[in-house]
Symmetry: D2
Subunit: 145 residues, 4 copies
């Protein structure tokens, strides 16, 4: 594959990572809608398996949705990257049947370090949570170019 | 039940919350080992369902373990409490078969606001992650005293 | 003053708060460049008084610049607001003579709770730090309308 | 100096760093009370110069006190260390005349990465803020052993 096509590389990185991500795909039921250079988009419908004792989506699973989206966005250049810190703010609960979409966008990338913002919204466009992640690129690539 | 027995109340709060917490109990496979005034202890073995594309425990699930432990610790006085913010630091990966234990301890409780520290360790006593949560008590109780 | 002019109100709120903010104005030497609905802009030149033992701007003062900008942005509607949590990521050091500009922008405001992002850049447009603040509106106003 | 005396080394590291830390010592008026292996203790009295528009200590300066304490604690082994992330929770305001003490304690140190907790209290023993820092050791030393 030509390295001249960053979009195709990002898409291949996303498909490759997602195919073996049991936690996100099978356990949580996420879908990967897009993986582009510096951006990713994922979706997860809140099902009974996600509910905590208050009958709302466990905050940990909203974190997990955002953390997965972060991983796809910061690995999208096909340079292995790891999370070096993150924070989350919970704004509204996720309810049974809600369709949660998370968009992750690169805010800055300077040398090996980047900042990515993930925003989780529901089907009404309400913001459920905002997650910020700091990434560090390490040696290696996700796919062979 | 006598309100003069905070330990018995905390235990009942824990059992009551955990019984309906599908996310923690059924989906993640956590166990609630202790719920005491200002303290909780949970355990989760890393299984195939927890693994991400790197074949390590998804960081979101380590967050979820700590977040659940936080919920039990800050509700242990039988006054409804919610998370008002949290941060996590990941120190080591969790591997397939690892037995992760999370202890949550109250650091300060002043009026309605508390700070709780959760420490996740593996079967070798290595620290996997440290989570800090800020809680706010709201109206209502978990169980009727 | 007419409440129909949110921009004029925000400017007056900014001027009123800044006039008595000894810490930001006198001790740190900040300037308030703009205070608009949901937005604020501040500037601080790194002087000898800001340097730590590594001869770079103390990270605490970069935090302080962002925290002040946050306060102006989230009080700009003339409804008293307080910080309910914040996080910061340091990306590059501030050096003696650097002119640091911080822009704070509202990301979401739902009911009484808002999220604001502050970005600190230097005179070359390089990002020095990113700060995220969660605000909660409380009773009262900054100025009488 | 013998490397067999970690306490003496830590004290020397603290004195050496503090002597040139204009920001902490001169601008903020902090005192370094102790610098021991994995621990530091600092003090700062809230003066007029620290007050914001609400006539309370600027949150940024409480952060600065904790951040300085963190720097002394994580450099105390005479291996250069830098902050790789931090979070703070503000619990009570600092008032004019309050004597704020900050103790920083290492929670875990594994390889080059450590977690340190800083607790800021006032003269009545009330907790003002809690700060958690993640450190990374880099090449070099503070003093020549």
């Amino acid at each position: 594959m030509s390295t001249a096509d960053p979009k195709a590389i990002a898409r291949l990185v996303g498909e490759t990572m997602f195919a073996v991500d049991v936690a996100s795909k099978d356990t949580m039921g996420m879908e990967l809608l897009a993986c582009e250079p510096g951006r990713a988009l994922m979706r997860m419908t809140v099902k009974a398996l996600h509910l905590n004792g208050h009958q709302i989506c466990h905050g940990g699973f909203i974190f997990t949705l955002a953390d997965s989206t972060f991983a796809f966005a910061c690995n999208s250049y096909n340079k292995n990257a790891v999370a070096a810190g993150c924070s989350i703010e919970f704004l509204k609960p996720g309810k049974l049947g809600d369709v949660l979409t998370c968009e992750g966008l690169e805010q800055t990338l300077s040398g090996r370090h980047g900042i990515y913002d993930m925003k989780v919204t529901n089907q009404n466009g309400e913001v459920i949570a905002m997650f910020r992640g700091k990434s560090a690129q390490i040696a290696g690539a996700v796919v062979t170019e």
